[in-house]
Symmetry: C2
């Protein structure tokens, strides 16, 4: 290894350590730390973030990247990718004055805090002034970042998915809408009634934690290199390949929430645990948020909500939640967990209506970046779109515009990843099932699935952009038809269409 | 606030944030983090420690302290104390080349790791080479620190207790020995037999965790500003006044270990939760390790092992561990938890023999710093002293020289704090019981005790050295006779002497 690379790795190691420390502190805050300490915790995170920003945007680091660039041609593909990723990130962040970045971080902390309160009290007016400031600050930062392919919004989208634009997404969402809206209509008109009253029977926390453990182990999350914890909202975060945290939230009157949260976060976790640690530095990180979501949605829906997986796990689940499912047949349970019903909450939506929730957020973000609307307009637009696309009436902002934490956390341009992730998962599953037979799915099948995913996805980290990663699997471009076909085939059977 | 102070506080805040991050990472590692991630964790800690050292020993920080020193006379007592403490610490640490300090930190990590293995395998030879290196490195660092009152060892002692010397400690330990050895002899010759077989009855972890919770709440540890966790060895660590962590370890066949661990760590925790946060920066920190130990030992022994506290809590404990203590009277239980019996393990020792365990470690440390012995000699000296002072035969190094983690962690010069802390607790309890009647001790009494401690000890943080802090309570110098009298009076009654 030459001296330029050595210098780079040593410096990157320092940067990563700051990220590591901030992650540990954040995870602790979201899981076990006393609530009363949130302020000190916020201040500590703010100081660490300042130190991190100063280091990551230093002239020294620029110099380190420059030295690598000078010798670009002599490096292999992996180091070339590393140089490109570092340069892109450095240049983008460098455009925004550090002072403004620090202010932004503090504003995000504040906005998140008031979002919590507003959601708890079901009062958007508590959140609105901070949300308004945050939108303005975000648009200010956007002017520093500059436009990509003609728009500021594209710059934000590109941060989560290299190369994605509103042009691509508009066409993607249109395609989904064209196919899913009729499907939803046919389902709503079908005369099949699915019984699901038993899903609200009470199951104790203790029993549910055992179910959580069982689901994670079954899908292949390695609990000796990770941890299952509890938090208000489920999440996954990785400290290292050997320390991946997944969380769940227990609702005693909704035990399947925990089951599919665990399958979802477990999917994220399996991806993180199986990245190729031999790839250099940031190249070994996950490819993109959409690819990440493709893994969580693959495990949550295509695998864990399949008839075959349900058949495998149902006897054990019945036993663990005894006697709650004693009078429920496998078939009844399978249909209940796949019942389609337009609803208010994204994270609880069924597979068929899910992407429409995402579409609504995407359309609102576009309007924000086009400066067509401000914070005060958002609730009514939100409610109107829910009525229009899903036919549901938003009864209060708590279950409407305040439901997700993303905007309060400053994650504008993130939401589409959920829909694109779904579509990726459909295409990935298409190839996967050509090689691995899901019929009579058992623990060995699940091991083979993981192996296949390691071979086709995980081992590449972020060596390629998502688009290429998908294409490399079978030399075929991304195509949302696989996902749509999957949905149509599955729900045709369930609803006898 | 003048600009020099502002600059100081901003800089100190940065330093404290590094300490905060390292503490969170360490606590997580000792409690819930996956064991397989210990290496990344160690590396992250090492990087953070390097960053911290570079900042804390920078010329900039020296300059900041110098500016405060220039205006020393115009500041109040609290800032004056702050300046003195910062200067002392800076100058001491600055004497050791950073390079050597970094090497030392890595060596400590390594030594701790091999200590764990050596203890687990009961094989001192695994530990010896690292311990030997660590001793040599410590002695090398000592030559940079220089001597205090004629010896290197005094310099190390002074780090944990301002102004303490081997001269003072020799006389202190002699006094203890002269009084306790005859007491132990009389107890061993007494014809009182104390029944304690029931202490080894099995109590489940679940039940014991409820007992832990009850004990912490009863003594006054605020669980909304702290957390009880489990770890291999119990400890207390503070992230802030609002986030104090105490841990316990559950042995199903030794349930009182958990009870008195909680009272001990809870005592540390109550001190940390009630420090005066209005004191400036480091002046609000705990006074010294001996004062810290005085609080843990006060709560563990003088309070929680008293007849009055036992009477108050026994019915609830009986209920929580039901049916294990159903056939045990209050009097039998009280005597069992205070049974005197020379033994091998310091942390499990009774109050009367405890200080002799500490004396042995103190004497060995003196020999190490006098270069009279090296790592290879220590087990045999250890065993010989246990035979001589406590009359017990060390059956293996696991329960001998390998029992404590302190030396592996580089904490030479710390052990005496346990004995001095006991003696402080005796004197503090003497004044405390003059104002607060322990008879018919109830929850209000416990609240009054905490108030008294806040008023006389906690509110001063480290504004005064321990010696002064103790003297200020009642205008009387520290005197170990109070502790000795306490022991003699208590055990005379129990053993009918």
């Amino acid at each position: 290894m030459d001296n330029n690379l050595k210098r780079y790795f040593a410096y990157r190691n320092r940067l990563d350590t700051y990220l590591y420390a901030m992650r540990v502190i954040t995870i602790e805050g979201e899981t076990i730390a006393p609530k009363k300490a949130y302020q000190e915790r916020g201040e500590a995170l703010s100081v660490l973030n300042n130190e991190y920003l100063a280091l990551s945007l230093s002239d020294e680091f620029n110099d380190i990247i420059k030295n690598l660039e000078k010798n670009y041609d002599k490096y292999d593909e992996k180091i070339k990718r590393l140089i490109k990723l570092e340069r892109k990130k450095y240049d983008l962040e460098k455009k925004v004055p550090i002072n403004l970045q620090n202010k932004y971080v503090n504003l995000v902390n504040e906005t998140q805090h008031f979002w919590h309160t507003a959601k708890e009290k079901d009062d958007y007016s508590i959140f609105e002034p901070y949300f308004d400031k945050l939108i303005n600050k975000t648009l200010e930062i956007a002017t520093y970042y500059g436009k990509t392919n003609g728009s500021y919004y594209n710059t934000f989208l590109d941060m989560y998915e290299e190369g994605i634009t509103t042009e691509i997404l508009d066409s993607f969402f249109n395609n989904l809408k064209e196919n899913l809206v009729p499907l939803i209509k046919r389902i709503s008109e079908s005369n099949i009634t699915i019984r699901d009253d038993f899903l609200n029977r009470k199951v104790s926390k203790k029993k549910q934690m055992k179910v959580a453990d069982y689901i994670l182990k079954t899908i292949g999350f390695d609990l000796s290199r990770g941890l299952l914890q509890e938090s208000m909202h489920p999440f996954t975060d990785q400290l290292s390949k050997n320390d991946v945290r997944v969380t769940t939230h227990i609702y005693e009157d909704n035990f399947i929430s925990n089951i599919y949260s665990c399958a979802h976060e477990g999917g994220h976790g399996i991806y993180e645990q199986n990245l190729n640690s031999k790839l250099p530095s940031i190249v070994k990180d996950a490819c993109s948020m959409s690819i990440h979501e493709s893994q969580s949605r693959l495990y949550e829906n295509i695998i864990a909500r399949s008839y075959e997986f349900t058949k495998l796990t149902y006897p054990k689940i019945q036993k663990l939640v005894k006697p709650v499912l004693d009078d429920v047949s496998l078939d009844e349970y399978y249909k209940a967990i796949n019942k389609v019903s337009p609803s208010l909450i994204r994270t609880e939506a069924d597979e068929v209506t899910y992407c429409l929730h995402v579409l609504i957020r995407y359309e609102i973000e576009k309007m924000i970046f086009n400066r067509e609307i401000t914070a005060k307009d958002i609730p009514s637009i939100w409610n109107q779109k829910y009525q229009e696309y899903l036919g549901v009436t938003v009864t209060s902002d708590k279950v409407g515009v305040l439901q997700d934490s993303h905007w309060a956390g400053g994650a504008f341009g993130y939401f589409f990843s959920y829909a694109l992730g779904n579509a990726y998962s459909g295409q990935i599953a298409h190839y996967l099932t050509q090689e691995i037979n899901f019929e009579n799915l058992n623990n060995n099948t699940l091991k083979s699935i993981k192996k296949w995913l390691i071979k086709n996805i995980y081992q590449y980290g972020s060596l390629y952009p998502s688009k290429e990663l998908i294409k490399n699997i079978n030399n075929e471009e991304f195509n949302s038809k696989y996902y749509i076909d999957y949905l149509i085939n599955k729900y045709k059977k369930i609803y006898n269409l």
